[in-house]
């Protein structure tokens, strides 16, 4: 149980801080410059890759922070106003997507098998349904009192776009990163006794 909690929280040393910061910056840049608009306030964006990578390396909570901060930064430099409901919702999605180490896909050590790919895809779909179908509409009504129909339409298009990006682009990147790392890690670390 303690181990699960530790995986969920991640280790917050200097390296994590820097990775999360760079992840957030990448998220902001990709959201603004590498998106393909498909609906109002919704883009087919490759930014959703960032939580996959950060989550794969450092666990869900860093992915959550990277996603939330990244979304706030994207709003700041994009200049379309603040949408905290979407920032937190995307953060929750980042958290769910970043659960990778929890089911044994260790990108740092080069472990990413077909089994993990299948679990990852299922988790992505469920995470999108949860974060964009439940969390964002609730937050939108709380914060802005918006009309649910339009938010739902935005959420559905965004979640479909996210699923496409997470699976079409996320899987190859996970494979590439895992392969890159596995080449370096054929040495085994001896267990220390203490």
């Amino acid at each position: 149980m303690k181990k699960v909690l530790k995986t969920l929280l991640g280790v917050w040393n200097t390296k994590t801080v820097v990775v999360v910061a760079i992840g957030a910056a990448l998220f902001g840049v990709l959201m603004n410059y590498a998106g393909i608009p498909i609906y109002t306030n919704t883009k087919l964006t490759t930014a959703m890759i960032i939580p996959v990578i950060v989550g794969g390396m450092f666990g869900p909570l860093p992915a959550f922070v990277a996603c939330t901060v990244g979304n706030i930064i994207a709003d700041l430099i994009g200049g379309w106003g603040f949408w905290f409901d979407w920032s937190v919702g995307n953060g929750v999605l980042g958290f769910i997507v970043g659960l990778l180490p929890l089911y044994g896909a260790k990108i740092n050590e080069g472990i990413f098998k077909v089994k993990h790919a299948i679990i990852y895809s299922i988790v992505c779909v469920l995470g999108n349904l949860f974060a964009l179908g439940i969390v964002i509409p609730i937050l939108t009504t709380l914060f802005y009192g918006g009309e649910l129909e339009v938010t739902m339409a935005q959420a559905w298009t965004a979640s479909i776009a996210n699923i496409v990006v997470l699976i079409v682009a996320g899987l190859p990147i996970l494979y590439v990163l895992a392969n890159r790392n596995s080449r370096r890690t054929n040495l085994k670390l001896e267990e220390k006794e203490d």
Binding site: W12, N13, T14, K15, V17, V18, V19, V20, A21, I22, A24, A25, L26, G28, V29, L30, Y33, A34, I36, T40, N41, L44, T46, I49, I53, V65, A66, V69, G70, I73, D75, L76, I77, G79, W80, G81, F82, F84, F143, Y144, G145, G146, E147, E149, V150, A153, V164, V165, V168, A169, P172, I173, V176, R180
Partner: protein
């Protein structure tokens, strides 16, 4: 591709000179103030105040103009979508009345309540846009980190903020370089010539080198930070934070008073049941 909004050097006007603490706290209180109500009597004074604030910052209007067009356009589209989704949406906001002014078809009717609700909504979105604009234009990333730290955000997350802002220009430059060199090798990125799916694939092609080159920097940066003793202490002070000026004290009184008002308003109007969800001139 440097963001025209973000300034890294502190400016010279009145609002620029406030401490980061004051800016962040005022902004957070104002966000609560905007979010809590649909009341034009509350929103309109803030809109006027924020426009005065924006003018006092002496921004470069030429670059800002684009952001205004985007914001106005997007909010207009949103309002139109709200109308198309339910033309009678004003009725349940203004206590059930639905005074039809004229109608296109049986479904698309135009009622006074809907016009009122949609225009207040537009005003609210524009207020939130201008307030955040004033906030962004007046603050530097390190002041923002200092301000967030003053509202008890863990300082590692504050560092995430200031570091991320520091690396945006670098990443944007790398992205542009990789994109241009990819295009030189014949990767088509033009929206007119390539379909959405191929463009998504091309974006991934850019993404892999971008991500690898960005994350390769992590080791250098974190080592440099460790060598300077980052993360050893429990608390942190900020170089950009200066002594409170007289204006800071005035702002402190203002935001404290606003916060009390917000709490009163939320309890009396948002939690207690009201005859209608927003203030309106129809009775």
């Amino acid at each position: 591709m440097n963001s025209p909004l973000l300034n890294l050097v502190p400016g010279k006007t009145f609002l620029h000179k406030l401490t980061g603490k004051t800016k962040v706290r005022t902004f957070l209180v104002l966000l609560v103030y905007i979010i809590m109500s649909f009341d034009i009597r509350l929103l309109f004074p803030l809109l006027v105040a924020s426009i005065i604030g924006l003018v006092s910052l002496k921004p470069r209007w030429k670059t800002i103009k684009v952001f205004f067009y985007i914001a106005i356009g997007m909010n207009l589209i949103n309002v139109i979508l709200y109308y198309l989704a339910r033309p009678t949406c004003g009725a349940n906001w203004c206590g059930g009345g639905n005074t039809v002014l004229f109608q296109f078809t049986d479904y698309f009717t135009v009622s006074a309540e809907t016009i009122w609700y949609l225009s207040v909504r537009f005003l609210k979105m524009m207020t939130s846009f201008i307030v955040s604009m004033v906030f962004i234009l007046s603050i530097t990333p390190s002041e923002m980190a200092a301000g967030l730290y003053s509202v008890k955000v863990p300082y590692k997350i504050c560092t995430v903020f200031s570091l991320a802002f520091r690396y945006i220009p670098d990443i944007a430059r790398d992205y542009e370089n990789i994109k241009v060199s990819m295009q030189a090798r014949g990767v088509e990125m033009d929206p007119k010539k390539a379909s959405v799916m191929t463009r998504l694939k091309q974006n991934v092609l850019i993404l892999i080198p971008l991500i690898i080159s960005s994350f390769e920097r992590v080791g250098n940066i974190s080592n440099a930070m460790d060598l300077r003793g980052y993360g050893k202490g429990k608390t942190r002070t900020y170089y950009s934070e200066h002594e409170e000026l007289k204006a800071d004290k005035i702002f402190k009184v203002i935001y404290c008073a606003l916060l009390v008002f917000c709490i009163y308003w939320i309890i009396s109007h948002n939690i207690m049941p009201q005859p209608s969800k927003m203030w309106h001139p129809f009775s």
